[in-house]
Amino acid sequence: MRRAANLTGVELSRRGTLFALLVPGLAVLLFGFLYPVAATLAFPPDGDPATVARETGSLLTDPYLLPVIARTIRVAVVTTLICLVLGFPVAYLISRVPPRWSGKLLALAIFPLMLNTVVRTYGWLVVLGGNGLLSSLTEGLGLGPSRLLYTETAIVLGLVQLFLPLMILSCYSSLSQQDPRLEEAARGLGASPGRAFRQVVFPLALPGALVGCTLVFAGAVTAFTTPQLLGGARERILSTLLYSRVNVSLDWPAASAVALVMTVLVLVVSALSSRLSAKGSTQ
């Protein structure tokens, strides 16, 4: 009896210590992140929650701004899907080559992350412009000059290049922990390569792929420089709209409304992805 009571005491004090250890970190998170974010969203300078709510309402009903929201979602979804389709096979390859190669290949895949966004984006201007590489190529083939710059396609291209490394890294983290013998076993039991991939490799790597999708989606919704330079003023998305409201009209409640919509978008996708991931792992 007495021993049991003692144990609980130890257990309790251990929990207390754990709590005490967590407090500083939690405090930093609360005061350094949650509080400023919530305050900026709900209490912008010259505004209160009611104004922000009103602005959000008009944002969600303005016939000129609804296409901006639609474009933002479309661009982010397409970018995420392309990144998944391109990134997953690359991550799979890297996870299956001998270790001395995987490190080098991984470094190569991450390399674009080390370039400055502005430099990378100006590179696209050179490729996509009317006098650019792509245009001279199509002209040479007799298809006439092509103009991709300042279109939604250009934004997607720029964002895919920007976020593909994130997708590769996330997928790789799942794939590299997978025992390759599982796939071999599936094949040994008569599964075709496609079936082994569909029923063994992909489901096991789903958590990593979903994390990758969430990161890419969130990045694509909030990216600013790339859409601004490659899409221009005509192809406005939420982040460029937010920029004009903060920098041109200095209308902070209206800017908060845009930020609120962006935050909700990202949170919804992130919640969906963790639900999918939980579902995947229980199966």
Partner: protein, 349 residues
């Protein structure tokens, strides 16, 4: 159980104490001067303005840099407890700041150079003066445009070769272009309706609505466009480097933007701020700034560089005599939200 909680509370207190220690409020601080300025050419600014000022007065200058909007937002947030003394800010954002009550009027006695500078540079309401200005004109490729354009009409001419870009409403040249168009085609520089209507007519043909000087320069350099309305300062580097870039001043619709030096309402070092504004207007300092940072001077005794007159002619020396004006700043500032909407909905299509 009790000890860890005490430890946690102690930790929290320590954290709070650090946070307060990190943000001391400046009060009646005469030893330092916090100057909020553009993040452009800060090293040169330190060298030709801030350090000589430190030597003369013994006041240490601390720079706080960023774009107009960011710095104005910061001032607005710290309105009750200002930590900045002087703000160098463009006239449009200065007009918004005045309306928010962020700046103080200046007693001309405390800034003697205000009596010397070009009359337009003195604020009619008594706020901070303009210390430099930039002229709106047409930057163009001399090898793609045969004759130097003489009017804004070049943008509406269906024969014009090589395409063009327009400034986005988010850069200084944007709102100025609305006014210049109104002045050229409508009843005057306040005729924004005509400005928007005429710009809407060519909006679909514009390759891009540029949002930075780097962007418009690179579009011209790559030959993606042959011309774009821009500020004369954007052309200076290219002209100096001998690139085929010219800057045309249209005969009508001559708008300019000025950078002003404002003293913050409740500045912790008011006397230092006044001395700094006066120093910025000093002809010697203005000449050096012109040479190093390409800011055109407003003091008549300061030296205008050859490059400036090569780009903008006599207007670089005396803009008002050449017919340049700032437009109705209160109109632009007051209508900023509706102009942004109109630009997005009508022009940038």
């Amino acid at each position: 159980m009790r000890r860890p909680v005490t430890a946690a509370l102690a930790g929290l207190c320590a954290l709070a104490a650090t946070a307060t220690a990190c943000a001391p409020t400046r009060e009646a601080d005469t030893d330092t001067l916090v100057v909020s300025t553009f993040s452009f050419a800060t090293e040169q600014f330190m060298e030709v303005v801030a350090e000589p000022f430190e030597e003369r007065t013994g006041i240490e200058v601390v720079l706080d840099t960023g774009n107009n909007a960011t710095r104005l937002t910061k001032l607005r947030i710290n309105k009750e407890r200002p930590d900045t003394d002087v703000v160098l800010i463009s006239d449009y954002y200065a007009a918004i700041g005045k309306e928010m009550g962020l700046f103080e009027r200046i007693d001309p006695e405390t800034v003697p150079n205000m009596a010397e500078i070009q009359p337009w540079a003195v604020d009619p309401e008594g706020y901070g003066p303009a210390y430099t200005f930039q002229l709106l004109g047409l930057m163009y490729r001399t090898d793609l445009v045969e004759e130097e354009p003489t009017s804004w009409g070049a943008l509406w001419d269906p024969e014009h070769p090589g395409g063009f870009a327009l400034p986005d409403i988010s850069v200084s040249a944007g709102p100025l272009m609305v006014l210049a168009t109104g002045e050229t085609y409508g009843s005057g520089p306040t005729d924004a309706d005509t400005g928007f209507e005429r710009l809407a007519a060519i909006g679909p043909d514009a390759l891009q609505f540029y949002s930075s000087s780097t962007e418009v320069s690179s579009l011209l350099e790559r030959g993606e466009i042959a011309m774009a309305p821009s500020l004369d300062n954007f052309a200076m580097n290219a002209v100096e480097a001998g690139q085929p870039i010219g800057f045309a001043l249209p005969e009508e619709g001559r708008l300019m933007t000025a950078n002003t030096a404002q003293i913050v309402n409740g500045a912790p070092n008011r006397a230092g701020a006044e001395a700094f504004v006066d120093f910025l207007l000093d002809p010697q300092v203005q000449s050096e700034v012109a040479e190093v940072i390409y800011d055109k001077p407003v003091h008549p005794d300061a030296q205008v560089t050859d490059l400036m007159t090569r780009v903008s002619g006599e207007a670089a020396v005396n803009p008002t005599e050449a017919g340049y004006h700032q437009g109705d700043l209160d109109l632009i500032a007051g209508e900023r939200s509706s102009w942004l909407d109109r630009f997005v909905e009508e022009v940038a299509r």
